[in-house]
């Protein structure tokens, strides 16, 4: 098989905040470094989904005049609320009693997708070559085992794997350094972590699934700049999660829900928990009379520094959530992702000009404010494995009294897929039916994502053992894929009284939850044909 080859100094996989910051910083350090950035979405921003309350610290360093350059960062946080929800009632928590990391008064409510579009314009202005619609599907290695670059996906392969008339072979991009910035659970990042044993001696990584809807609401319920979070109902004490409600510009509200993927009950449906959450009187009154205009979901990384893998390997670096730099108690990962990319860029610059080893990345990272932040935050998420109440008590002591400086580090004990318990040992959950006003079903939700994959291409959700879902997972766990997938990709169907596991791959919104939560790790998410997946607007 012969593929065309292009040589670059640096190839970056992924056009999110970390990848784009790497690219921009590299060009700032030396405009002659040639940088190529690939993005699997049809355009930059189309696969970006985030809350997002944005801390500008990293951007202030990267592009200090972002205001002059009209960055889409406009809505300053003006007011904050935190509610503990009971089934009908709620308890408002005074914000002065919130840990400092959860206070947001210098931050902005933004659309991260729009910020990425703007960052891409800045990067292109500096000479970065950006190619949306081209997933990197394969890592290429040199004979000495170091990373040589990546190859893009072949286009025009049919369901059975044959070449169609429109077949276009992928292309090899070789680089002196390849930067992986795929975001949470990047499928190449996953391969590299395994191959180079980057997670050796680290705690298992922790993930969550985040949902987001954008609502256009009644003016009288809207308060631009208001940031609200909730914990509690509808989740039980043993399930980690909570909501965000951000009042953005144009009468929009960004409404979302995050649930830790270490949940135990296979009957739990994160999507339905989110839908149910909206029926709480205190939430419903905000969106009532409004209109849902967007929906999406994405896995996020929650492990913190205990789970952070080694971020360098021969010929390549991991940045942002491909490694896992999100600050969970802060509920923010954009600024840390950006900063990790900027540090990566400095490392690469010194590697290319002074021949310094890429391992200096880790050192620089440890000396940076990101590491300090993540270190202070390290004990919050694991403490919630004791349940919501104890978790909150501990977090209060850890974050308010000791500011994250307690002299010990709690551990993540299990990977998320190991947390799930047999279906017959856990209670079934009876979710209310959608009313199509406040709550919706999966299909009408997926429709809003604009997701599309050409029907006639190989299924991009690979089963290691195709019989396992029916023979084992269905029996033991009632096949939780039916529920954890936020896009209705997985179904169990009765065909002539024979049960069949159906994968509606064209519905996939690239959240990666299946790759994380499948109890036997039987599902592997790989890149579909370029340009496939959701077409998010201002998510």
């Amino acid at each position: 098989m012969s593929r065309e080859v292009m040589e670059y100094d640096v190839v970056i996989v992924g056009g999110g905040p970390s990848g784009l910051s790497t690219a921009i910083k590299l060009k700032q350090l030396n405009p002659d470094i040639n940088v190529c950035l690939l993005e699997k979405a049809s355009e930059i921003g189309a696969h970006i989904l985030s809350g997002n309350v944005f801390e500008t610290r990293a951007l202030d360093e990267l592009i200090p005049n972002w205001k002059e350059l009209n960055a889409p960062i406009k809505t300053k946080v003006t007011k904050e609320k935190f509610l503990f929800l009971g089934k009908q009632k709620s308890l408002s928590w005074p914000t002065w009693l919130l840990p400092k990391v959860q206070q947001n008064h210098n931050n902005y409510i933004i659309s991260l997708a729009n910020l990425c579009r703007w960052l891409a314009e800045q990067a292109e202005g500096l000479g970065v070559e950006i190619f949306p619609g081209f997933p990197a599907s394969e890592v290429l290695y040199n004979d000495d085992g170091s990373v040589k670059g990546i190859a893009t996906q072949d286009m025009g392969i049919d369901k059975e794997g044959n070449k169609k008339d429109t077949y276009e072979p992928g292309m090899e991009l070789h680089a002196k350094v390849t930067v992986f910035a795929e975001g949470c659970r990047g499928h190449l990042g996953k391969e590299l972590i395994k191959r180079f044993e980057l997670d050796k001696g680290k705690n298992p990584q922790q993930y969550g699934i985040g949902f987001k809807e954008i609502w256009e609401i009644d003016e009288k319920n809207h308060s631009e700049g208001l940031v609200m979070h909730t914990a509690g109902w509808p989740l039980d004490n043993n399930t980690y999660g909570g909501s965000f409600i951000y009042h953005a510009e144009n009468k929009q509200v960004f409404l979302g829900y995050v649930i830790g993927l270490d949940y135990q009950n296979p009957h739990l449906s994160p999507f339905d928990e989110f839908q149910r959450f909206k029926t709480h009187p205190d939430i419903k009154k905000i969106i009532e009379g409004g209109k849902r205009i967007s929906y999406g979901a994405r896995a996020l990384i929650e492990g913190g520094i205990q789970s952070l893998p080694q971020m360098f390997m021969p010929g390549a670096l991991l940045v942002g959530c491909d490694a896992g730099t999100l600050n969970m108690p802060k509920i923010k990962g954009s600024h840390t992702a950006m900063k990790s990319g900027m540090i990566a860029a400095e490392t690469i610059y010194e590697h290319l000009t002074k021949n310094l080893n890429l391992s200096t990345y880790e050192q620089k990272f440890k000396e940076s404010w990101v590491y300090k932040e993540l270190h202070e935050a390290r004990n919050v998420k694991p403490s919630f494995s004791w349940g919501l109440i104890l978790g909150i008590l501990f977090t209060g002591i850890d974050q308010i009294l000791f500011r994250g400086k307690l002299p010990f580090t709690l551990k993540h004990k299990h990977a998320d897929h190991e947390a799930i318990k047999p279906a017959d040992k856990m209670p079934k959950i009876d979710y209310p039916k959608p009313d199509n006003v406040i709550t919706f079903d999966k299909t009408s939700s997926v429709y809003l994502t604009g997701t599309i994959h050409d029907d006639n291409q190989p299924v991009h959700l690979k089963l290691k053992d195709p019989d396992l879902p029916i023979k084992y997972t269905l029996e033991k766990f009632d096949e939780p894929a039916q529920r954890y997938c936020p896009a209705g990709v997985y179904e169990i169907q009765d065909v002539n009284s024979v049960q069949k596991f159906v994968i509606n791959a064209q519905n996939c919104i690239h959240c990666k939850t299946c790759d994380i939560k499948e109890p036997s790790q039987n599902i592997t998410w790989v890149t579909p044909e370029g340009g496939g997946g959701p077409k998010y607007g201002n998510m």
Partner: protein
């Protein structure tokens, strides 16, 4: 103020959409004239003169009008245009091909595919494949308008007696030559244009069971559709697929059998005038768009449906 409507016909019969266009045209102004350009199309002119809404028929008979050559039609229409404030036709492939050529020569910005006449200069038309409706007002002196036929009822066909005026042909164009027309001769209408579509989904369980659907399709002169799931399962070939990635259909009647209503499918049929869903799962999303939902086992319901249809004698072929 008078309206000139361009008739579509096959030199023997008026093509049905012309009657729908007549209804819309007479809503713009009652002084409606119809132009018949054809070859030996006297029967067409006569039929149109009997339409009560039509005040005058202008008949131009020449062999250059035997087929629709937009270039030839245009020069003849331009000759008559000065007497009219509105030139209209149906917005099917006939009118879509023809009208912009006329409009450009009259230096008029055409209003395409209207679904409602609000006033003589203001119309409602769908944009973005019907996902939005635009109200537009034409400020041109002379207006060129095409009419979405399915949005207007056909005009009455008899009772009128308009005068038929013969007129001379215009110059023929040598730019375009008609070679042939292949009418799609299928026992069943084409999926994209059928008045009735009956579709099967994964609930059909196998390809043989589609016979239950084709029996009804034969009876109703309907086209056969399918959901992506049924196509993927190999029950039926993919040219039957209705949906976002298949065909988008807008029939008068859409019958969804054993289709749960995945969003891709709904996108392909939700604009149908009347939607019927037959499904044993009462919670299936298809019921949310159905005008008439029947919660039943399709293997019982379909044979019953056929026998009920057989009792009717009014089904149009």
């Amino acid at each position: 103020m008078s309206v000139l409507l361009i008739a579509e016909h096959n030199n023997k019969e008026v093509r049905p959409f012309t009657y729908n266009a007549i209804t819309a045209a007479s809503q713009i102004n009652e002084d409606l004239h119809v132009l018949v350009l054809g070859h030996k199309a006297d029967d067409v002119a006569k039929s149109l003169s009997e339409v009560p809404n039509v005040k005058k028929v202008i008949h131009v008979d020449n062999e250059i009008y035997e087929n629709y050559i937009a270039e030839n039609y245009t020069s003849a229409i331009i000759k008559h245009a000065e007497n009219y404030t509105h030139i209209v036709s149906s917005a099917n492939t006939f009118g879509k091909n023809l009208m912009p050529r006329i409009a450009a020569l009259l230096d008029t910005s055409q209003v395409s595919d209207i679904i409602k006449v609000i006033s003589e200069d203001t119309f409602l038309r769908p944009i973005y494949a019907g996902n939005a409706f635009a109200t537009v007002k034409s400020n041109d002196k002379k207006k060129c308008v095409t009419i979405r036929p399915t949005s207007f009822d056909p005009a009455d066909k008899s009772g009128g007696s308009a005068e038929i005026v013969k007129s001379d042909p215009a110059e023929a164009s040598s730019l375009t030559k008609f070679l042939k027309k292949e009418e799609v001769k299928s026992d069943r209408p084409e999926l994209g244009t059928a008045r009735i579509v009956i579709s099967g989904g994964r609930g059909m369980q196998n390809g043989e069971n589609f016979k239950l659907i084709s029996d009804i399709a034969d009876k109703l002169n309907a086209a056969i559709g399918a959901s992506r799931a049924a196509v993927d399962a190999g029950y039926i070939t993919n040219d039957h697929q209705v949906g976002q990635t298949g065909k988008v259909v807008v029939p008068d009647l859409y019958i969804a059998v054993g289709i749960s209503g995945a969003i891709q499918h709904l996108a392909g049929m939700k604009e149908s005038k009347i939607i019927v869903a037959i499904n044993k799962d009462g919670e299936a999303p298809i019921f949310s768009v159905a005008d008439y939902g029947l919660e039943a086992d399709l293997f019982e319901a379909l044979p019953q449906f056929l026998s009920e249809l057989n009792k009717l004698n009014t089904i149009q072929k």
